[in-house]
Subunit: 217 residues, 2 copies
DNA sequence: AATCATTTTTAGACAAGTCTAAAAATATTT
DNA sequence: AAATATTTTTAGACTTGTCTAAAAATGATT
């Protein structure tokens, strides 16, 4: 498999993550920052290889085989992210781009040894699950911080959209995975919150709280 | 720089390692398992980019800039080899292919952190020197085992041609970097040797001893 | 149901890197 | 020094993945 093929499979994996909906050509092209015509070409190619179920004008989704392949690329991506953060002390906002490259390294042996070396982690530095060799992921129940009531305490479990700017914003405020968050106040008007983390108080907008996954204490 | 360009630079680096001789198109093509016509195309391209000094029908060599670029690819290759052997417990005969892929990962920050993490090694698992950021290498004086006199004792410092089969042969016999070798006997006729390593005796041909670098104790 | 707008596909072109086959230059031999 | 052999380069073609522009299909509107 070429790098381009791998990137298309991965994009399909992310776009039809849980639901089994068909992905449109335009949607796929946007995700990959390319043109719909290019996506069409590739979908036909991947369909010929039985990695994608694609019907002209209707859309595409991964086949069982394609999903397995895609999951292993995601597995590699997230394992490398753990390596970069836990072993090389990169910040969680710095690792995505490097992992985009490392995920294409072809060596099943390497992946398994890396997994062992890292202690077989089940989530990456942003709280996203790491698929196992079979493509299975451990589903951890996560709610959005924005849905939590006033005066409750929760643990930060993940980031919904791991945008670099957002990750940088959080790490500057020393907010990280595992942080204990107490909601001191919640404005009924715009749902902005006053929260407390490690004795520090922060005001956060709904946009922010809506991008943070938490778990009840 | 593309992967192909990097591979050509690296090949030139290895082919005109110490001496500053011109490399022929055929020589380069053979090293890269490609055709001379392809090598010609690429040499012209690299010449246009000032990475290679190339004269039609004469041959090519790296420019200062090209040599620097090449050295950093070799640096990455060898650092990753150290990682694979020292951290992931791969055998020294298993790491070349994987490092061939890892050497193309583009992230200066990653290289420097990896270097630190590994303790800034100066040689790779086969005893080859790791260039520093400037492309400089520490030259360690190494002689060939085949040139050593009978009854001398030496330390194994490196492998001349790190062929997979040869590396496997050595590791099966538990012969590794740093092993102390005593030459018990040396046959005048074919220069085959009887050597002793860690209490184990081995008979080795000239072909073998000629591929092992050692240093006097 | 017919028209209009949008999405998707096709067709043809381009760049990178490779190849084969033929032409040009260099090296070797007599 | 001329003829032959070898090496190197050029020319044209192919593949992968992309693009633009035009055609076809689908969806929305009236």
């Amino acid at each position: 498999m070429t790098r381009a093929e791998e990137n298309y499979l991965k994009a399909l994996y992310h776009l039809s993550d849980h639901d089994d909906t068909l992905v449109s050509t335009t949607e796929l092209a946007e995700r990959l920052e390319t043109k719909p015509s290019s996506a069409t070409d590739m979908l036909q190619k991947l369909h010929d290889k039985s990695l994608v179920a694609y019907t002209k004008y209707k859309g595409a989704k991964l086949s069982a085989e394609g999903r397995q392949k895609a999951s292993q690329i995601v597995r590699k991506h997230r394992l490398w992210e753990v390596f970069l953060v836990n072993k090389l002390a990169f910040g969680w906002e710095e690792v995505h781009e490097i992992a985009e490259q490392l995920e294409h390294i072809k060596s099943p042996e390497l992946v398994e040894r890396l997994d062992q070396y890292l202690g077989c982690p089940t989530t990456d530095p942003h709280g996203d699950p790491i698929p196992d060799q079979k493509g299975q992921v451990v589903t951890v129940y996560k709610s959005l911080l924005s849905d939590q009531p006033k005066e409750s305490s929760v643990i930060l479990m993940g980031i919904k959209d791991s945008d670099t700017n957002f990750l940088t914003y959080l790490s500057q405020k020393n907010i990280k995975l595992g942080s204990c968050i107490t909601i001191l106040d919640k404005e009924p008007f715009d749902q902005s919150m006053t929260i407390e983390i490690d004795g520090q108080m922060h005001f956060i907008s709904k946009t922010i709280s809506n991008n943070i996954y938490v778990q009840a204490l």
